[in-house]
């Protein structure tokens, strides 16, 4: 059954989007290609008309998730308090409760580090995210350093709040990190 010209590209995109969601929600190893294709109304054999391996899909899905996340926060960086808006969003209840639509780093980075060969896409995801934050901080050498540290805090706090059982404790981790980071952002904005 041959399809219209852009049909394959559309299916390709659907697979990438669904995979990007599942990798973030369930983890890479726990995401099977069979259930993934089935969820899109396709059979698993067709997968290899689009990707040469699961590893290739992982790489592409990670890039897609990074871009998706970038688009989601783009408007935050056009406001007068860009960093504070970003921090509020990153450490929101919505972001904690919906990893499948959020930043791929808290969910995928550790697993990618454990796989044999790390992926260069992690580097660019980190650099891109930290770059935006550094820009909001003035882009000095200090700003670049601080943005890396802040990004670490954001990721660590989100991971912890997601893996802790006590909901009250989880909320406290988010709130505490949010206020500390916003305090840091304000302090950094005042000094220069």
């Amino acid at each position: 059954m041959r399809y219209s010209a852009d049909h394959k590209a559309q299916t390709h995109e659907r697979i990438v989007k669904e995979a990007a969601a599942r990798f973030r929600r369930d983890g890479i190893g726990a995401t099977g290609l069979q259930p993934l294709m089935k969820a899109l109304g396709l059979t698993h054999g067709g997968f290899y008309a689009h990707f040469k391996s699961k590893d290739e899909l992982v790489e592409i899905a990670l890039r897609s998730a990074t871009e998706e996340m970038g688009a989601l926060v783009a408007d935050k960086f056009n406001q007068d308090k860009p960093l504070e808006g970003f921090i509020d969003m990153y450490l929101s209840d919505a972001h904690r409760d919906h990893p499948e639509r959020g930043c791929p780093l808290p969910t995928m980075a550790a697993e990618l580090g454990q796989r044999g060969q790390p992926s260069p896409s992690v580097d660019s995801a980190v650099q891109h995210r930290a770059g935006l934050m550094a820009q909001a901080l003035g882009n000095s050498k200090e700003a670049q350093a601080q943005s890396l540290v802040m990004l670490s805090t954001l990721i660590g706090a989100l991971v912890l709040s997601r893996s802790v059982e006590d909901q009250e404790f989880a909320a406290r981790i988010l709130t505490t990190a949010r206020e500390a980071l916003k305090h840091q952002a304000r302090a950094a904005a005042d000094i220069p």
Copy 2:
């Protein structure tokens, strides 16, 4: 073949220790019980004489790794600059390069959060680790909050430095976070 009185307890401990190492190095899902038992010179069937499921082993191994880590850093907290020693150790090259002997949170927390039901052992691991740091900061309400944020930064920075491909970038993440956190620790120690 019946063994001496404490033989079973010893084997139990050997399984827990080896599992705690592999879960941290390879991840929980990627660690098979068969290779694990084989590495100890045992056959996989015997596993169920010690644990009722892999999930039970995960729980016990996580507690074991937390205690192990606690013992490893205990002496740091008896020095005159307790927090700085701990930070240097947590963000050392050795800790980054040997997850199997390090803190279980950067390696296991995300995966435990993705599994259906989160484990209460994560809560106590976080609380224990943050508690020690808070004590070093004076144990005030502010100290408790700050220790949670610092722990988030430690975990996030370690995860990032492990999953990034560029070794120079990985080193920069560690160094930057180390200095920022020690600066925070000194500032907090000066104020009260």
